[in-house]
Subunit: 356 residues, 2 copies
């Protein structure tokens, strides 16, 4: 069954596609009589018309679709993706998600996708993909807004200041009586410009403590878990573990508990990002909460601005993160100190699995 087109409606009503287009896009308000408008709308409904968005995109140059670039859809990234969808919903924009990082050949990928199907891109913590993209498409690219913890001057940027949170975390565990405070990070956290590691080292220096860097290959739960198990079996554990992100904190949590290590009595534990999961453990995990709602809203607004006025100077802004102190790092008996003391997943979550 062939799709219904403007022409079909036009001939049903006895008019032309142009008129139908004007009416259906709402651009015919002073131009087409109310009677005709009504007849066209009725016919459209009756025939089950829906526009061919490819044709529309071809002529308008807009697809009403944006891309989210993230390395994966798990964990923190999934949280962001979810919020971003909430932000987009009223806007009539769709979102295509690409795990840029996993694509074996960026250049080929960009060659194919530089122009499409998106009007713009929000790149979450993907500085290298962005750079690669900008190079590959030399000015002809859909605009990019970088978001996340990695600063860039090549695109609009909405960042989160995790460094302050990490410093606070370091001081906090010190106040709780920890002496040997380690930073559990990964290869990426070891890059020269990683703000979390730098903040950790800074804080340690300020307190006159020796920094201890524990580095895994990737920031996965399993990597953190096995590293911690190894440490525990050689009795080489620090008494505080500040983790690169919540994933690593959760892996470390499990590793410690498996080895019979008590949290926080033997080892105080903190994560970073503020994903909901951290709140549900026997000892809820202290974490640095990212302002995800704000991040998504700002990134979206920024992108819309850029689409409206492509030659604005590059914008950039940094949002604050906040340390949420929970049981995993609290040795003294003080009460919870946390921006959001309750589990952070109070975001309306309307339907159950199998729902809709």
């Amino acid at each position: 069954m062939r799709r219904v087109t403007l022409r079909d409606i036009a001939s049903a009503v006895g008019t032309t596609p142009a008129t139908v287009s004007k009416v259906l896009t709402g651009r015919g308000d002073g131009l087409i009589s109310e009677a005709t408008r009504q007849r066209i709308r009725d016919a459209a409904r009756e025939l089950g018309y829906s526009p061919n968005l490819a044709a529309r995109a071809l002529v308008t140059g807009r697809t009403h679709c944006i891309a989210l670039w993230a390395e994966t859809l798990a964990d923190y990234h999934a949280v962001v993706a979810n919020v971003l969808m909430d932000v987009l919903r009223p806007s009539r924009y769709e979102m295509v998600i690409t795990d840029v990082v996993k694509h074996p050949d960026w250049h080929a990928y960009f060659q194919r996708h530089a122009p499409w199907p998106v009007d713009g891109i929000i790149a979450l913590d993907s500085p290298h993909s962005v750079q690669s993209y900008l190079e590959a498409s030399a000015g002809r690219a859909a605009p990019v807004v970088s978001a996340g913890a990695y600063y860039t001057t090549q695109t609009d940027y909405v960042g989160v200041d995790l460094a302050t949170g990490v410093r606070e975390a370091a001081f906090h565990v010190a106040e709780e009586g920890c002496k040997r405070i380690a930073h559990l990070t990964c290869r990426h956290g070891m890059r020269p410009n990683d703000s979390r590691r730098l903040a950790y080292e800074q804080a340690m220096a300020a307190m006159g403590l020796e920094p201890v860097l524990l580095v895994t290959d990737q920031s996965s739960r399993e990597n953190a878990r096995s590293l911690v198990r190894e440490l525990a079996s050689t009795h080489d554990l620090p008494d505080a573990l500040l983790c690169f992100n919540d994933e690593m904190a959760i892996g470390a949590y499990r590793g410690l508990r498996e080895m019979g290590v008590r949290i926080p009595e033997d080892v105080a534990l903190t994560g970073c990002d503020g994903i909901p999961d951290t709140a549900y453990f026997d000892q809820p995990i202290t974490t640095i909460v990212q302002p995800v709602d704000e991040l998504c809203n700002q990134a979206w607004q920024c992108l819309m601005n850029r689409l409206d006025r492509p030659d604005l100077p590059l914008q950039s802004q940094i949002l604050p993160a906040s340390l949420c102190i929970r049981a995993s790092s609290r040795r003294s008996g003080t009460a919870a100190i946390c921006a959001s003391a309750k589990p952070p997943d109070e975001r309306p979550n309307p339907s159950p699995a199998g729902g809709d």
Copy 2:
């Protein structure tokens, strides 16, 4: 800077857009001389050409884009989305994600999107959206493959048999000595055709035990948590809690621990879906593991089949799930019994937050 088009390449090489198109799409193999082909390819690279996919889609009728409909991008759904992206990657297809459920006006939504930008749709546990879609678009729709736990005869279907898992779970906790075995579910789980609840009731009947249904409004962690806390405070707890899904199990876990209830000694706990999180708790949570890889592969293949041969009869298949028994339900001292004894997130997870 205007985008580069076929015409630009053509005039650079001194030929026509048609020829360029043939070469660049690989359809010019016997038709265009090798010399010309080379010149065209060089020019394309040099000018930084990338095709306008809207134009291509308009004439070919294919967008090389599919939609994933899910209610959210968290939890189990995020796991599926992630795997699906892995499945899609080699195929040169993109994925747009829509949380159909949250759209306030389905009909309006479908009116806008029925045709686009997708060649097909994979609908994860979204029976109502699918139905609504099929009605709204009467045969003119992009094909849909339903996936998940809710059976439908209106589209191709790749399902997962959770019922068997639930029965096994019920028998398992009974064997562990539980007498008062409750099912913690939500409004959706109470629908007449919910296979999990039915399986639970069946198993209870088979064992001659009284079924106890605990029902929350939605399947969220927080709902489960508060319900369980209430139960604990009125000393009305069962000694086993079979949860609708892992979300509810995790919420229940937290609720129980907050109230000082021991798992599994006081209450044995099981979840459903097999999301990685369940493996990291002090008492790792028994769960029914969905074969997500298989699910995604089959759904994708099914969709591709349908696109190739639109008038094939509807296909449907059911995949088995498997009970993964962990500490949260094991009262006797037996060893782990689990298809995958290790945490289920061994799927390559190449990069850390902030990576790329």
